[in-house]
């Protein structure tokens, strides 16, 4: 018997009697204060939030806040940057990106995460390898909780999808919080 059959038959023999799955509908509780909550949580986890009314406003803030950035990749059609993302055959080509401006499908108020899938990225590694990350979401695209988030994702077919909540961080040295572990050192979310 190979390992596969051995494991499956041992599991089948030993698994207990049927237990019913719980319903999760009761966790869907509407919330009207999602924008306020989203901003509060994002700030608390070390992110930066801007409520803006136009792309011109975003452009303005980017010009102010990322003066040092040499290589910027913008995935937003409305914010063309000199290094606008085309195709990158090799993810290693993104090694030197200072700032990535990406779109997200939606945000989650309870934990300030944004949901991004690989069809929105030139390479999956972009939001991780960039030194700083800026994300654009629409204010109508903020859901209250993770239950709503998965309702919204449904059975979407992606190759890779990720919830990103704030800059990368570590507290492994004596529980001292350090922003910028291996991924971006900052995360700025523009709420349009």
């Amino acid at each position: 018997m190979n390992s596969r059959e051995k494991i499956l038959s041992a599991v089948k023999n030993n698994q207990p009697a049927q237990n019913i799955l719980p319903e999760l509908q009761s966790f869907l509780k509407p919330d009207t204060k999602v924008l306020e909550k989203y901003i509060n949580v994002l700030t608390a986890i070390g992110g930066l939030a801007h409520v803006v009314n136009s792309y011109a406003e975003i452009d303005n803030i980017i010009g102010q806040e990322y003066k040092e950035a040499q290589r910027i990749i913008s995935l937003s059609k409305e914010l063309p940057m000199p290094g606008r993302a085309e195709k990158y055959a090799d993810p290693h080509e993104l090694e030197t990106v200072d700032l990535a401006i990406i779109n997200a499908q939606f945000g989650v108020a309870e934990n300030a995460a944004v949901w991004v899938t690989d069809d929105m990225l030139p390479q999956r590694v972009l939001p991780f390898i960039t030194q700083q990350l800026a994300v654009i979401i629409k204010r109508t695209d903020i859901v209250p909780t993770m239950h709503y988030a998965y309702e919204r994702i449904g059975n979407a077919d992606y190759g890779f999808g990720v919830f990103i909540a704030g800059p990368s961080k570590t507290a492994d040295i004596e529980q001292s919080l350090v922003l910028g572990a291996h991924g971006p050192k900052t995360m700025r979310v523009f709420i349009l």
Binding site: N2, S3, R4, K6, I7, L8, A10, V11, K12, N13, Q15, P16, A17, Q18, N19, I20, L21, P22, S26, F27, K29, V41, I45, P91, H92, E95, V108, E110, N111, A113, Q123, V125, F128, T145, H147, A149, E151, Y158, G159, F160, G161, V162, F163, I164, A165, G166, S168, K169, T170, A171, D172, I173, E174, Q175, S176, V178, G180, A181, H182, G183
Partner: protein, 460 residues
């Protein structure tokens, strides 16, 4: 690190030699526990979430073989290669063979307690493969040549000065610099080069979805993603119990995991890997290593519901004061103490006794595992199977005799009080385990029985 054949008590004694450090360790973990409480209390539906998580995991256990087959089918359809490993040896050999097939001798690895359990690093290094752990805490203990002492906070036992010294020696940082920000940045720069040059990346798996064949990896540092998205070959290793039935069940677990672990609302990254990227190989190794046996133990099977948040460790008064290494197993603390005897009863017979049975672990567990009940049940199994130490057995027999004979009991109490009062050095010495790290209490003048007899008469 040499732990020899010492048991939990002996290893804890070593940890307890440095009292200020023990206090610091204790307070740090309690602080993490307090953060967990704060996060849990912000959600009025917290208890319903725990109940839902528990029910989902119970359903997983009762349908595990079907879910595993479903997961395999979906993952294969997604272009992922699925491997099955019956035990640690099988797992390690599968990983090594994949690296050999691809001509790879240097890899990066993000946190995976399963690979710790299988001693993968040692095995691969013996085969000439260089393994770089990329989680900062894991990298630190790897440089120190130690195992992690906590599943979420691998180097929680280390002071920043010691980490500064390690980095000075291995990464060339200036001697005497122990600033966490500076050290973390030094590690970032050092590990970035590894991410960019290694062709294979290993990750663990937090959850695998039967319905879709995808798996989720949670990190705060972004190290799993940096490794996996840059490498040609991604190998993810998971215990067979990591399955959840449907994608939307992730909502329950992702709400509970980080809040229980560190008090964060969610980890920075919750990455859903479904298909390999173009030109990349993606492999999943499904590992049993004793899990199917544990599934057959009715009293202990629900330990397989564990989502590895570490909350039971942070709250445990024994863990906090004895340190993770005293458990001499990959997963320390209360949950580790009910998982380990399943793998080797003789080797881990001491662990279910490393508890006060206070029940705090069960109260914080996000999937409602009855941890302290299982610790108590393991004790009974271990004694019945003959794994209890002889001294403990004799002491217990002595206690049984004393407690079941009122005359002997009264005499023993009297003798004890007289000795502690008149000749305290008989008990205040190294031979008495109760005297270690504590003062003996003042002996009472009389026993409750004596007091009651006297006062009852007076009152009548």
């Amino acid at each position: 690190m040499d732990q020899g054949n010492k048991d939990h008590a002996a290893l804890a004694e070593r940890f307890n030699e440095d009292e200020p450090r023990v206090n610091w360790h204790d307070e740090t973990l309690w602080w993490v526990r307090a953060k967990r409480d704060k996060a849990a209390h912000t959600l009025p539906e917290w208890e319903q979430l725990r109940e839902a998580a528990s029910q989902i995991k119970n359903n997983v256990l009762s349908n595990l073989s079907e879910y595993l087959l479903q997961f395999e089918e979906k993952a294969k359809a997604n272009g992922v290669v699925v491997h099955w490993a019956a035990d640690a040896k099988d797992h390690n050999e599968i990983v090594y063979a994949l690296l050999q097939q691809n001509g790879i001798s240097r890899i990066v690895k993000s946190k995976s307690m399963l690979t710790e359990e299988c001693h993968l690093n040692d095995y691969l290094q013996q085969q000439g493969i260089e393994v770089i752990d990329t989680d900062l805490g894991e990298r630190i203990v790897q440089l120190a040549n130690e195992p992690p002492s906590h599943i979420v906070l691998p180097c929680i036992h280390k002071k920043k000065e010691e980490i500064g010294e390690l980095f000075h020696e291995h990464l060339g940082t200036p001697a005497g610099n122990a600033d966490p920000k500076f050290l973390a940045n030094a590690a970032r720069l050092n590990l970035r080069e590894k991410f960019l040059t290694r062709r294979a990346a290993m990750t663990g798996v937090n959850f695998a979805v039967a319905e879709t064949g995808e798996f989720v990896v949670c990190t705060n540092e972004g190290n799993a993603d940096m490794g996996a998205h840059l490498a040609d070959v991604h190998i993810a290793c998971m215990g067979i119990e990591k399955i959840v039935p449907q994608r939307n069940h992730l909502s329950v677990f992702l709400r509970l995991l980080a809040r229980s672990a560190t008090g964060q609302p969610v980890t920075t990254y919750s990455s859903h890997f479904k298909k390999p990227r173009k030109g990349q190989q993606m492999h999943i190794v499904l590992v049993d290593n004793g899990r199917s046996v544990q599934l057959g133990r009715a009293d202990f099977r629900n330990s397989l519901k564990c989502i590895r948040c570490g909350a039971c460790m942070n709250t445990c008064p024994v863990y906090r004061r004895s340190g993770g290494h005293s458990y001499h197993t990959a997963i320390a603390g209360p949950i580790g103490s009910i998982l380990a005897p399943n793998l080797d009863m003789r080797k881990y017979a001491d662990l279910p006794f490393a508890s006060t049975l206070c029940g705090s672990c069960s109260n914080v567990c996000p999937v409602k595992i009855d941890i302290h009940d299982q610790l108590y049940k393991w004790r009974q199994v271990l004694v019945k199977e003959g794994y209890a130490p002889a001294a403990k057995k004799i002491a217990m027999q002595g206690m049984t005799f004393t407690l079941s004979n009122p005359g002997v009991y009264q005499f023993a109490g009297k003798a004890g009080r007289w000795i502690m009062d008149k000749i305290p050095f008989i008990v205040n010495n190294k031979l008495n385990p109760w005297y270690k790290q504590r003062e003996m209490p003042e002996p009472p003048k009389q026993s409750f029985g004596e007091w009651y007899k006297k006062n009852r008469k007076d009152n009548l």
